[in-house]
Amino acid sequence: MLDKKINHPLHAKTDIPVRFSEETLERVRKIIERYPAGKQKSALLPLLHMAQEEFLGYLSVDVMDYIASLLEIQPIEVYEVATFYSQYYLDPVGKNVIEICRTGPCAICGGEAIQSYLEQKLAIKTGETTPDGLFTLKAVECLGACGSAPVMQVNTEFYEFLTEEKIDHILDDLRRKSSEEKPEASKWKEKFF
């Protein structure tokens, strides 16, 4: 078991107001309605995804406390879940989170070399964020796309059959997109939740 540590109180305070917009709150109500009355805690995983996306890109303690208050559960019930699942980040991340698959099938198809190449191109080690805050590189377990190995996921997008040339293009593309505005958050929320 590899529970992540909550860096309390380092990331406890954030300088943004931790509150969903009315529109998002309407969405939250709809999500809670999917579960029987009194079982609103079931909405915790989807809500943490939304909170991570909407506020900081990771879950700070006050974001988690806010979700606890929305669901009328204890903060500890949120912390213990947030520390269990690998898609919740408890530390600040870059604008783009690159998750390269490191598991067997990808590894035998050149995944390890791609991971090294990414480290070299970004000039960071796996687990780190570039100084400009654009990229965080993470190694993750099988993404369920082994037939197109090697594979990585950036934000919600899959990139498959990776080669060094492809990585060059993808990084350039992401750099360009990141200089533009962040896509409207409610769009992905409509689609995914």
Binding site: M1, L2, D3, K4, R34, P36, K39, K41, S42, A43, L44, L45, P46, L48, H49, L71, I73, E77, E80, V81, F84, Y85, S86, Q87, Y88, R102, T103, G104, P105, A107, I108, C109, E112, A113, Q115, S116, T126, G127, K138, A139, V140, E141, C142, L143, G144, A145, C146, G147, S148, A149, Q153, T156, F158, W188, K191, F192, F193
Partner: protein, 446 residues
């Protein structure tokens, strides 16, 4: 001629939309089940079909359904297991991406059979775009009156919701999945009681794999007997196999159970042989958890018979010389693959994914990872090999859920069939073809 059940219409343009799907006969089974059959009759057909769970364990679906507690008076639930995190497995993703309505159709018939008025699809968090596709399909089904209240004018009501996981292999295990769906850590529960009696919110619950549920429409339409005409013996029907690794045509294939492994591996219709003209070294036939077999034992059984893609044939020889069909994740290794490195890689996976409840699994997976890391990096000792076997044997069977077994089998089998390679790594680490690739000093990144 190859016969298909699930992917027959996969290439029809627009099949992802309700209109096109319906025009190919989609949702006919819902009309038939709800209007012409009783729930028990549906269960009977599924029993007769011989359909076995496609999530890995291969438990007969109809029998599982018949265990659902109908006396408690509590609501009943169906959970579709779309967590798909077993390395080498990506068939459910394909099915949901291409044919979302096939799953929903199957779920409606299944819920009707079980008397469930709510169904959840638990999708692994990484499949975000799949969640979008499913939500769209569900919306269409509501609009057309196939979901919601009084479906097709009958008294049957059903809601289906998609629920997103958040990155945890263990949540594919059914009781961990239930915990996760309740908004908790994915810690598996002790069985019994089984979910069919005490499941989601303490209510009777059936958890079935995506592919299992996608077969139900065909069974309702054509009868269990017709389904059982596909396949051989107790391996009825077809199976989606996701093939990956060092092959020419990685991808998802629907095969009729009973196809020979050789044909699947070498026929250009399927894997198309080992990539770059290399020799075959080994195959993991059913997802990373099942025992790895060397080339000699995957193509033929120890008794010299042709090995077939069936539950029985792949298991022939037990764990001494056989393996399992599992989830259908078919991983092929060519002559250059380093078995030690691959085994270490998988040990790391299981260590990372152990939920930590049971000491043998929590500690044992970490020990196996460290010992294998040591061997792979040239610091192994001869006695390490037996140490690994010993740790694996002490995890197996001593944990609440089968993740412990799933972690032990790949390691035990790799040593059973490739002991010489481990010994070689201990004695002559410099000879390992991987010594130049990448030194991972990070034992684990979480």
């Amino acid at each position: 001629m190859e016969r298909k059940i699930l992917l027959k219409n996969v290439d029809v343009p627009g099949i992802r939309t309700f209109e096109v799907y319906r025009s190919t006969g989609g949702y006919d089974s819902v009309e038939k089940a709800l209007k012409k059959m009783t729930p028990d009759e549906v269960v009977e057909e599924v029993k007769m079909s011989g359909l076995r769970g496609r999530g890995g364990a291969g438990f007969p679906a109809g029998m599982k359904w018949s265990f659902i507690d109908k006396k408690s008076g509590n609501p009943r639930y169906l959970i579709c297991n779309a967590d798909e995190s077993e390395p080498g497995t990506f068939k459910d993703r394909y099915l949901m991406e291409k044919l979302p309505h096939l799953l929903i159709e199957g779920m409606i018939c299944s819920c009707y059979a079980l008397g469930a008025n709510t169904g959840y699809i638990y999708v692994r968090g990484e499949y975000k775009y799949i969640i979008g596709i499913l939500n769209q399909a569900i919306l269409e089904a509501y609009e057309k009156g196939f979901l919601g209240k009084n479906i097709l004018g009958t008294a049957f009501n059903l809601d289906i919701h998609v629920h997103s996981g958040a990155g945890a292999y263990i949540c594919g295990e059914e009781t961990a999945q239930i915990e996760s769906l309740e908004g908790k850590r994915g810690n598996p529960r002790i069985k019994p009681p089984f979910p069919a009696v005490v499941g989601l919110y303490g209510c009777p619950t059936v958890v079935n794999n995506v592919e299992t549920l996608a077969n139900i429409g065909f069974i309702v339409n054509n009868g269990g007997g017709e389904y059982a005409k596909y396949g051989v013996g107790k391996s009825t029907g077809t199976k989606l196999i996701s093939a990956c690794g060092n092959i020419n045509n990685p991808g998802v294939y629907e095969i009729e159970l009973g196809l020979s492994v050789r044909e699947f591996l070498y026929d250009p219709k399927y894997c198309g042989g080992v990539k770059n003209g290399k020799e075959l070294k080994a195959v993991i036939a059913g997802g990373s958890s099942v025992p790895i077999l060397p080339a000699s034992l995957i193509l033929k059984t120890a008794a010299g018979e042709e090995r077939l893609m069936t539950y029985e044939s792949l298991a022939d020889g037990g764990f001494v010389s056989g393996t399992m069909l599992g989830s259908g994740g078919f991983i092929v290794y060519d002559e250059d693959a380093c078995i030690v490195r691959n085994t270490w890689n998988l040990a790391r996976f299981y260590h990372h994914e152990s939920c930590g409840q049971c000491s043998p699994c929590r500690e044992g997976t970490g020990w196996m990872e460290s010992v294998l890391h040591r061997i792979e990096n040239g610091h192994g000792r001869t006695k390490d090999i037996d140490l690994l076997v010993s740790i694996a044997s002490k995890i197996e069977g001593n944990t609440i859920c089968p993740l412990g077994d799933a972690a032990a089998w790949p390691i035990a089998s790799a040593i059973r069939h490739f002991r010489h390679e481990f010994e070689e790594h201990v004695l002559h680490p410099e000879k390992c073809i991987n010594s130049t690739i990448r030194q991972f000093d990070d034992v684990t990144i979480s």
